[in-house]
Structure formats: structure tokens, C-alpha cells
Amino acid sequence: MTGCSPALAVGWPTWLVSDAAAIIATGAVTAAACAVLGSFLVLRRMSMMGDAISHAVLPGIAAAFLITQSYSVGPLLVGAIVAGLATAALTQSLHHYARVPADASMGVVFTSLFALGVVLITQVKGVHFDKQCVFEGALELTPLYVVTIAGVELPRALVVGGVVLAMNLLIVALLWKELKLSSFDPALSETMGFSAGLLHYLLMALTAITAVASFEAVGSILVVAMLIVPAATAHLLVDRLGPMVFLSAALGAVCSGLGYALAAWFDVNIAGMMAVVAGGLYGLAVLLSPQYGILSAVVRNARLALAVVRDDLLGVLYRLEELGTEHRLAAAEACAAVGGGLLARRGLAGLLRAGQVTQTTGRLELTPAGRDAARQLVRAHRLWENYLVQHLGLPLDHVHAPADRVEHYIDATMKESLEQKLDDARTDPHGREIPN
């Protein structure tokens, strides 16, 4: 909270490359330290605990100032950890003993503690509480404060961030299976003798330490962003916990580098830009994630709809042939029969291309290959109808619609087992022949 004058920051884009490297490295290390814990917060659905703790450490820090009258790091960290743990404990007990909803109890606790912190800070003589600085941090100033370790000058914030990252990684590695189990199944973890409560408070303590250690360098906004956003992004991309933790940390580091570059390009606040980049990457994952993205869901749904409409077209043409008439449908008629629209036209085009249907003098005709495919489909449909009637006792007029939905998913093995279960696998319940 010291030395946050924007005047110093004005000239930074022209700084030396090493300064840029120091800022990026500090941002990356801090982001990774946050993101490692973030995976567990996100999985435990406690993401907002990061936000709550990073606000609620304020009274702890202020009290440490007031009691020791010094700016030394030790008491400050202790105060922050105590306040962070108090936040977690108060939230938990309000929810458990007073039956306040979980999110409301978190809101009650951290906002009240923050208000208390603001009041305490105003009582500290000689300290100007710069709220904006707490939010935004002073990443620009990182290269100005250096410590010398083994003869090498390093930015102090980078060293602090590195220590926190190492601590988080070490504890997460040591308690890997306990954290994993209690994140996914707290009840099982409890019965197996790992106290989910103890792990919860350990996680909260780590979050508090990480938040406080990162504040001065990157500000609370980036701490909150890095605790939540990279982990939420990784959660959209991978399913296993190990890759998720590493991916979150890597994403945090990427946000730092990319955020710095963009901030330098547009001449804007670095920490803010890193948070924006994190949000942007999350947005990309929301759209493009191969498994959970919106775009892939749309593509999957469209493909499925197309496959269904092709099956339906084949079914319509086959059933017409079955009636024994010489009448053949025109393309437009066939499309209308399966719901029409672009989807039907695309489906028909696909069938023509695949050589399952031919078009002569404007009328559609199944090719032998198409007839085979259609026969398999109609067979599946009628077997299923028969099964619904014989085994589930559905009335005759209730079996067509479900069979129409299921027919696309019945493969050869399932047809075989259906056949074995049925007394009569030659005709469907309406008396029509089940094709072979």
C-alpha cells in the first residue's frame, strides 16, 4: 500500500526490456500461485471465497499495523491469515448454526469485516489508505523495489511471489490425494478419516497468505481474477484434476505475458489488462472448448439433427415403396414430410451425394444401398415398437413416437438382443412386416 503514485508509472512503456521481463515474471509467478489454489476453490464451488478473503484481510492488516506500529511483513502476514481464517470460520458457522444461506453468510462476513478494516485503517495515523491502489496494485513499480539474493538483484515482489508459489505447490503436492478426495466427495473423505474441515481451513489459510502476499504487487482485482478465472477456464478444457491445476497455472502465466504486451501497446493499467486477458481466454474457452464449448455443442447438435433428418428421409421413401405404389415423391414433397426447411434440404443433398437416393425426372428413388440402410432403420423402428408393446405394455397408439426418437440409436447388437427378447420378431404391433 506504499508508493503508489501514478506519476511514477507514466513513463513505463519506454522502460528497459529487463523491467518488462521483471513485471511479466512477477505477474506470472503471482498468477500461477493464485491459480494453483483456484482450481480447488472452483471445484469446491467456493470461488467467491477468494474474493471474500481478499477483502476481509484488511482488518487483519490494519490491526497488525495498530498493534505493532510497524510495517514489517511478519505481523502483517499473521494479521492477514487470522482475518482470512476468521472469514472462513465465521462464514461456515453462520451457515451451519444460524442457517443463513451459504452465499449470504459469506457476503455478510466479508463486507462487515471490510467495513471494519476501513474504519481501523482510518485510525492508523500517518497512513493514507489508497483504495484505488489496493484494487489496482502497483505492478508498474515492481522493478523499483529489489532485493539481492546470492549476488543477484531480483524484484522483491518476484521473490515473494516465488516463495508463495513454491509453498502452494509443495502443500498441494503433499496433500494431493486428500485435497482431491475432499474436493470431489467431502463425505467420503470424512468417513475415510481425512478431515474435510481441516483441509477446508488449510485451503483458506493458503488463500489468505497468497492474497496478502500478492496484494502489494498486483492489487486485489488481479488476485481475485487469478484465483477464479484461469481455474474456471481450465475446468472447461480438461476433466482431470492434475492437468487442471497445471493448466490453470499456465493460463495464469499466459495472462501475465499477454496482458503486459497489450497494456504496453494500448498504454493502460497492467494488472487490469491481465484480468481482462484472463476473462478473454475464459470467453474463448466458453465458445471453443472441444468438449464443453458452446460452439462445439452447436456443431454436435447440428450434426445429430442432420443425421436424424437423413434417417427420416430414408424412412419416408422406404415406407412409400413398401406400400407397393408406383408413386414417387418429388424432392420438395419428401423434404416437407420430414419437417422441411434448410435442414431437410441439406439432408437430402447429403443422401444424393452418398448415393443412397437418386433423382430421375424430378422424382426420388432409393438406390440399393439406400434401400439397405432404410431397411435397417425401419427394422430398428419396428423392433422397438414391438418391444414397447410386449415388454412395457404400452398401447398401440403410443409406440410410434418413442420409436421414432430411438430408431437412430439402435445398432446391430441391440437389434440382435431385441430380436431375442421378442416372441414375434417378424411383424410390428401394427401388423406390418419387420424387414430383414
Partner: protein, 436 residues
Amino acid sequence: MNVPDAMFALSLSTKVTVGTAALGGIAGAIGALAVLRGRSLLGDMLSHAALPGVVLAFLLTGSRSLAVLSVGALASGLAAVGLMTLVIRWTRTKEDAAIGVMLSTFFGLGVVLLSKATRSTASGNSAGLTSFLFGEPGNMLTSDLALIGAVGIASAATLALLFKEFKLVAFDPDFALSQGWPATRLDLAMMTLVAAVTIAGLPIVGVVLMAAMIILPAATARMWTHRLHTLLLLAGALGVVAGGVGPRLGHGVPAGPAIVLTAATLFVLSLLFAPEQGMIARLVHEQRLRRRVAQDHLLRSLYELAEPRLAETPMIPFAALAANRGWRPARLRRLLSANQEQGLLAYRGDAVTLTPLGIRAAAEATRRHRLWELYMMRVAGAAADHVDRSADDVEHLLPPAVLLELEAELAAETAAEAAAAPTVPPSPHRMGGDAP
């Protein structure tokens, strides 16, 4: 804006009091809806997400008027709500993480835009923007009062119009949806109200403390009532008190934190002293229950030990009684003297005997226990050696109506006269050996 002249004439301190009290009232009432809906942290997200809108509005129009900035804030707040809803609906990101992602990304974007505004405009020109975020009740202007008034009237009207709808959506959104109500639109309407209130309050109490004004009065009121309209009125009243009294309390304490700490004090008082849900009331209730359970167990033990020769009112040796339920001697002695005071037993030296009053009470306790045992065996088919423990847990909570029902049911089931008559039925299991 057509503001009555009288408002200009108000002194600043009156303006501040009126403004914060009105804000507290609206935030309390609207916040109650958000808290019930499980969206307590929405206010936190909205107040952070307002920043980019505020700065953009300033950058685009060059104006710092409250109306322009508020419109910008509302727009970006609603954008965040919309994206959050989209992400929750379409991806595997859970609500807490979605709130966190939107909060930090939007706030980061705001910080970026703010730094752009600060660097690209003449120094000091964007100063009004940060006070929009961090709150400065001392600077309360007539336009602030007008904005709060307008939001208050609009939200009161909306509440009055849609009270029934909001009630259903707040308590059971799934049911509302299944009944064909436009639950999503109502949800959005509710969140818009929260957004409007949050943004009206931002320039006065600031980002984090505005979140508190949404949650605290609602959580407090929830301790006192179960009815929605009482809850809304009470939360509003609590908000008025906190907003009206808070700023006048502390010397040198900033008004925003003072309001929140007043609200927090009201919360803690309610948490302790509320008649039904307060901690003290619940502790007293629990203590009473525990005492009744201990008394039931003591009387039943005495009854069962005396049962073989009940008519002679035998003296029960202290040691036998202590062994019967494994009581520690000190605890048993306390228990005995408490019951002696109530005239239920006589306890002299090393032996205990039931008074006539005590015999009646003991018979009643034993009857409840055995009726439940019989019920478990005959109706639920439990084994004789499994019913003692389960009856131990339930017997104290059986109201007379249930006892009558049990008797009727047992009578109908087996026509056992013992169960039908208001006497103590014999124990269905072997006595003594299986007692702990």
C-alpha cells in the same frame, strides 16, 4: 430532472441522512429478494461490473453527470448479468465461478479504461469517476437524492405489481417454470432491480459496501420472520435505520463503513436475540429438549427397574440405576436432585423411589417408548432387538395426537388390548440384558 425546490434548501447533513436512509430502505427490500433467490453476491458482482460502463460513458460523452454515468453503469452491470446467465445456462461453469469471472473481468476492464481515461485526458478531469466507485456520502448532491428517489419509486412500483410473481420465483423457481411462468424473464426483472439499486448507491457507499447494504438487512430480517411481505418491509426498515443512524454515529469514521457496521451490529443483535431463530432462543430450546430427554430416560429406567414389583414402590439402588444407562455418578446425582425438586422421586442415601406423581410420569414415558417399539416391529417389520435404540431417539418427540394414532393403528393391526388401553404395554423385547 424536475426536483422540488425544497430539496435544494436542505442542509448537507440532512441531505446525507435522507439519502442514505432512503438508499438503505430500497437496498434492504430489494436485497431481500436477491438473498431469498440465492443471489446474495449479485450486488457484489454488479457493483464491480459497473466500472467499465461508468468510464465508457465518460469517455464517450465527456460528461460526468450522475445520470450519464449511471446509465453506463447500468448497461455494463446488465451486460455482466446477461453473460453470467448465459455461461451458467450453457457451460459447466457453476454459479459461483460465473459470478467471480464476470466480477473480475469487468472490473479489470474498468481499471484498464480508467487508466486510459486518466492518461488521455487532462489531469483531474476523470477524478469524479473514482468517487463514483468508492463512495463519498459527504458529497451528496441533490441529483443523488433525485436518483435514489426515482429508483425507489420505480422499484416500489415494480414490487407492488409483481409481488406474487417474485414470491414464487424467489422461493421455488423450478415450480414457477413448471407452471408456465416466465421465470427467466422474472428473474431478469429481479436482477435489473438489484442492478438499479446497486448503481444508485455506488456513488454514496462505494463498491464493496454497497454489496453489504444488499445482504445485511435481508439476512437480519430473515431472523425475525418467515413471511415475504413482512420480510421485505422489515429489511427495508432495517436499511432505513442503518442508513439514517450510521453516518451520525462515529467520530471521524467514514459514513459508508459506519452504515455497514451499524447494519452489521443489527445483524449480530438479531442473530443473538431473535425470538425463534436467534442463537440464544435456540440454545435455550435445545437445553430444554436435552433436559426433557434426560428426564424421560431417568424415569423410564426407574420404571423398568421397578416394574417387576411396581405396586410395592420399591427402592432402586443408586448403583443399579447408574448401571442401567451407563450414567456417570455425578451426572446422575444432579439429574436425580433436579427431578426430586419437581416431586417426581425421592432420593435418599443410596436409593431412589418414585413418588405417585413420578410413577404416573414414568409410566407415560415408558408407554411412549414401547408404543413406538411395537409400531416399529409390527408395521415397519423391525426385529425385536433393533427397536430399543430407535425408540430411544423418537420417544421424546411423539406428540399426544401421534400417540393416539399409534394406538389406533396398533389396535387395528393386531387388536392387542394392551396397546389399545391407556396402560403401559409389556416390553416387546427381553429386559435388562440388552440395555446398554
